[in-house]
């Protein structure tokens, strides 16, 4: 059994932008450990000689030609947004953005 340490739980929470109480950290530590253990069952499979794969389907090279298609009308694009400002989506203020 691998126990996820508290530090890892806090780190994962930080990456997911979640604020956890100490109590929650302990609860998630327990739950996440159980989940990790469940997946650890996969380690028991013998994968000697099996080539790693990144995809479940045995297909590749699904490519499209560089052809333009009509985008959505702007009204339709914005239809479901809870808040808009002109033709922009309006969202809560983004702080300290770092580019991709």
């Amino acid at each position: 059994m691998t126990t996820l340490d508290e530090h890892t739980v806090r780190h994962v929470a930080k990456l997911a932008r979640l604020k956890l109480s100490d109590e929650e950290v302990r609860a998630f530590q327990e739950q996440l450990t159980a989940i990790m253990d469940h997946f650890a069952l996969l380690d028991e499979v013998d994968t000697t000689g099996v080539e790693p794969t990144a995809h479940a389907l045995a297909i590749d090279n699904v490519l499209r030609d560089d052809v333009v298609q009509a985008p959505l009308p702007t009204e339709q694009t914005l239809r479901n947004t809870p808040a808009r400002h002109g033709d922009h989506f309006q969202v809560p203020k983004v702080l300290n953005q770092e580019s991709s």
Binding site: D60, Q69, P71, H85, S99, S100
Partner: protein
């Protein structure tokens, strides 16, 4: 600030984003355009709606491979696509599609030369990814999002930390810019953000026999060559100064940082401690299947690889005895370089053709905001103009005038000579460009020279008349040339120029010089 006993060696690597020249986005058919109304180039795929399926743009893959071949990279036979966690609303899927462990291109190199010989910079990898949209900040306390740019294909090129100065880094950026625009894989328009730089900078400091290394700063999102150079220069000084305080600003003790550059103040500013790569939590994108590059595909792309600028320059220097400087002004733009080769093939004497390209055609093109090829002058006509200068039929000055008339009478005007100055590039491109059409309309430079009476005059009597007129109109200069040794050279040069001008370039400059010298010394 920096004492004499320390030696500072900057260590710089670059991540460079290049917007690829495709019609449609990376994973959907939305058009790639700049400056359209917000959210007008968007579909369910690039706005990240659930259930929408991305499909890879073949052209973007081809352009990436072409670029990789051009810098000597290894093209992967098997690549895949990964999701990189992302938290901002300009990429609303919550991840960016990128390539993590199996990039399309690995290895390769580019050479930089900042005046002390060529230095090879290794390229670690180049991969394809999608751009984010744009967040407009601080509008009434909110952020506004425009997704037009979201999903635009980006080629990210990562170098090894082989660069040793801001100047070298800048040279790499400009060199790569030349390469991608030459290949036609990107428009490389800096104002539209089509090339963006992220330098990784730290310094090795040698002090009393000990080497210290400062933490690595990644300077985010620089969008000009100048910003790249200035940001790196600032960052080197900042890190050395920070180390100086108590020598504790070193890798391991202080964290690596992401920093932003404020171009107005010329400073980099702390943004955040850098997260390690695994914190992006890359994982394979289940929506996209792997791409396998076949030999056939690779060969086809390899065939389309043109002769690259460096090889072309070397050939021109060797075969046509051009100077590297002259060659450099023409070689960087592929269509212009192709045209130069065509003019030489058509019999143009290289030494004169290159001068006319640099001094005449290029300046006309610049005035009109187009390239030389857009001027629409046949290579054969350009060759002829160079020939008649070479054989002394007309002077260089007269050739300038002939060139002007060629342009005015050619397709650049739609009837009047003056129109040449008002035609815009977009109009010029829609005008007829077929050879037959040009040949019919492009006047022969020799015929024009005859018509305009610009053939060189080697007649002493005719030349004396021009000199008489110029001497009469410029008594002060004549006086200076004869009596004031300090001004003599300049005044005589001025008089020669005036005679050439008076003759409209027809006079033989050599003869003019002899006759003027004779008069000036004769009467002294």
């Amino acid at each position: 600030m920096v004492d004499a006993q320390i030696a500072v060696r900057p260590i710089i690597g670059l991540e460079i984003h290049v917007q690829l020249l495709t019609r449609s986005k990376m994973f959907c058919g939305c058009p790639v355009r700049f400056d359209d109304p917000p959210n007008s180039l968007v579909c369910p795929v690039c706005m990240g709606l659930p259930g929408a399926l991305p499909v890879i743009n073949r052209r973007a893959v081809e352009l990436t491979i072409l670029t990789g071949l051009a810098f000597g990279g290894t093209i992967a036979t098997h690549t895949k696509w990964d999701r990189k966690s992302y938290y901002y609303p300009d990429l609303p899927k919550n991840y960016q599609i990128s390539q993590f462990d199996l990039p399309l291109v690995s290895n390769g190199h580019l050479d930089v030369d900042v005046g002390h010989g060529e230095h090879r910079v290794r390229i670690r990898r180049a991969h394809l990814e999608e751009d984010a949209g744009k967040n407009v900040h601080d509008v009434g306390g909110h952020t506004l999002v425009d997704l037009n740019r979201a999903g635009t294909p980006l080629l990210e090129i990562v170098t090894e930390p082989d660069l040793r100065s801001a100047e070298e880094a800048c040279a790499l950026c400009t060199g790569l810019h030349r390469l991608v625009t030459y290949l036609g894989v990107s428009e490389g328009n800096m104002k539209k953000g089509q090339m963006r730089f992220e330098p990784n900078v730290n310094v090795a400091i040698e002090h009393d026999g000990v080497e210290y290394r400062t933490p690595i700063s990644e300077i985010k999102n620089l969008n000009s060559f100048r910003a790249a150079r200035d940001a790196i220069d600032f960052e080197i000084d900042r890190q050395v100064a920070a180390w100086h305080e108590d020598h504790s600003y070193v890798l391991g003790s202080a964290p690596n940082e992401n920093r932003g550059f404020d171009a107005d103040r010329g400073v980099t500013e702390f943004q955040r401690d850098k997260e390690a790569a695994q914190d992006y939590r890359y994982f394979p994108d289940p929506d996209l299947v792997p791409v396998n590059v076949s030999d056939a595909m690779l060969n086809e792309i390899r065939q389309s690889l043109p002769e690259l600028p460096d090889a072309r320059t070397a050939r021109w220097v060797k075969d046509h005895s051009l100077s590297v400087e002259d060659a450099a002004t023409v070689v960087g733009h592929r269509a212009t370089a192709d045209l130069f080769d065509a003019v030489i093939s058509a019999g143009g004497p290289p030494a004169i053709v290159i001068k006319q390209f640099v001094n005449v055609w290029l300046s006309h093109a610049k005035q009109r905001g187009v390239t030389i090829g857009d001027l629409g002058i046949d290579p054969e006509r350009m060759a002829e103009l160079a020939q008649i200068v070479a054989d002394g039929t007309i002077s260089k000055t007269a050739a300038d005038r002939v060139a002007e008339i060629m342009l005015a009478r050619n397709r650049f005007d739609a009837g009047t000579e003056d129109a040449s100055d008002t035609v815009t590039p977009s109009v010029a491109r829609t005008l007829p460009t077929t050879k037959a059409n040009n040949a019919a309309r492009c006047p022969s430079p020799l015929a024009l020279a005859k018509e305009l009476r610009l053939l060189q005059v080697r007649d002493t009597a005719a030349t004396d008349v021009w000199i008489d007129e110029v001497f009469a109109a410029n008594e002060q200069a004549v006086q200076d040339a004869m009596t004031n040794p300090k001004k003599r050279k300049a005044a005589a040069g001025f008089l020669r120029g005036q005679v050439m001008k008076k003759s409209q370039g027809k006079a033989d400059p050599k003869l003019v010089g002899e006759l003027i010298d004779k008069r000036l010394t004769g009467s002294a």
